[in-house]
Symmetry: C2
Subunit: 159 residues, 2 copies
DNA sequence: TGTGTTTCCTTTGATGTCCAACTAATTCTT
DNA sequence: AAGAATTAGTTGGACATCAAAGGAAACACA
């Protein structure tokens, strides 16, 4: 099987691990991974806008709304509409929310973080760089296509 | 901010890209990423068991059940209980299902695959290896902990 | 001022995803 | 052979996630 498929399998393992970590957080700590990330964002910048959070953690605004609904229902965060521009919504932490973020665990598995820190500096960088590269290769949706065809070898035509 | 967080951000980008690809597939082709992967698995081994599929693509059996429900409802796959061991369920593709898998697109973005193939052999390998390493670092949940304490530096005790 | 566009957020509807609990069937013990 | 433990799969409930559609408000510009 091709390297491409191996990559996909490894990717699925990682995605699953992240998801399981989220479930684990939810169970032992009461907040899922995304909820935690959202709250950390709010903490860093009280009054942050929905859109901003979405961009920061790479989720759609719809998803953030969804998450905020739950946080608000549990009195961990609150939304306040701007008076100057009533389209905008500033998000804040409640006292309970602040307390929760204080003693929050890490979004990634503790033991992953431990191991990651045990790696040599250059290995860490290399790992980050590879992941970023994959991300970039995946989400640049529009660029490329025609411009590249004249340059490179048209290596194989499939089927 | 730490490398660890950079990694998390890149990871979220990748996860999102995979998810968006899935939505895109669903829209243009009628099957989501996971559905497609499940069907490819069935194609390769007709009569495959639910558990096997789950292991192959790194999802829980519950999720596979869920996906199979939909596939069966759309007459793309069917389940047949084993007669010798009635706990077991063999999964097969219907004629429609076979046809669908035939002209199915790739689970990953076409342009990602293209770019990936443009990389040099060693770069591809390196990319796969890194991803596998991350996966391994994340999902070895049980190992470590106590066995390591006597050897290494007890770096920090938390709270 | 009025109409059209853009921006920001929310709602709706569909998947995916898991765990925990459950049923059914098989195998192991004594 | 009866009861216990294990295995296979499903169900129920909760979140995450998105696109598309739907307001509401602000802006733009004639």
């Amino acid at each position: 099987m091709g390297k491409e498929e191996e990559l996909l399998v490894a990717l699925r393992r990682v995605i699953r691990a992240v998801d399981l970590r989220s479930k684990q957080l939810s169970k032992h700590f009461g907040l899922t991974g995304p909820q935690l990330l959202v709250m950390q964002n709010i903490q860093e910048k009280p009054g942050i806008m929905v859109r901003e959070i979405a961009d920061n953690i790479n989720l759609s605004p719809a998803t953030i709304t969804n998450i905020l609904d739950r946080l608000e229902a549990r009195d961990l965060a609150k939304r306040i509409r701007s008076t100057t521009d009533k389209r905008k919504v500033g998000v804040f932490l409640t006292e309970r929310g602040k307390a929760a973020v204080q003693d929050s665990p890490r979004p990634l598995q503790e033991h992953f973080v431990d191991r990651f820190h045990q790696l040599k500096e250059w290995e860490q960088s290399q790992m980050v760089a590879t992941m970023q590269r994959i991300a970039t290769m995946m989400d640049a949706e529009d660029i490329d296509a025609s411009p590249f065809l004249e340059l490179g070898s048209i290596s194989e035509k499939n089927s």
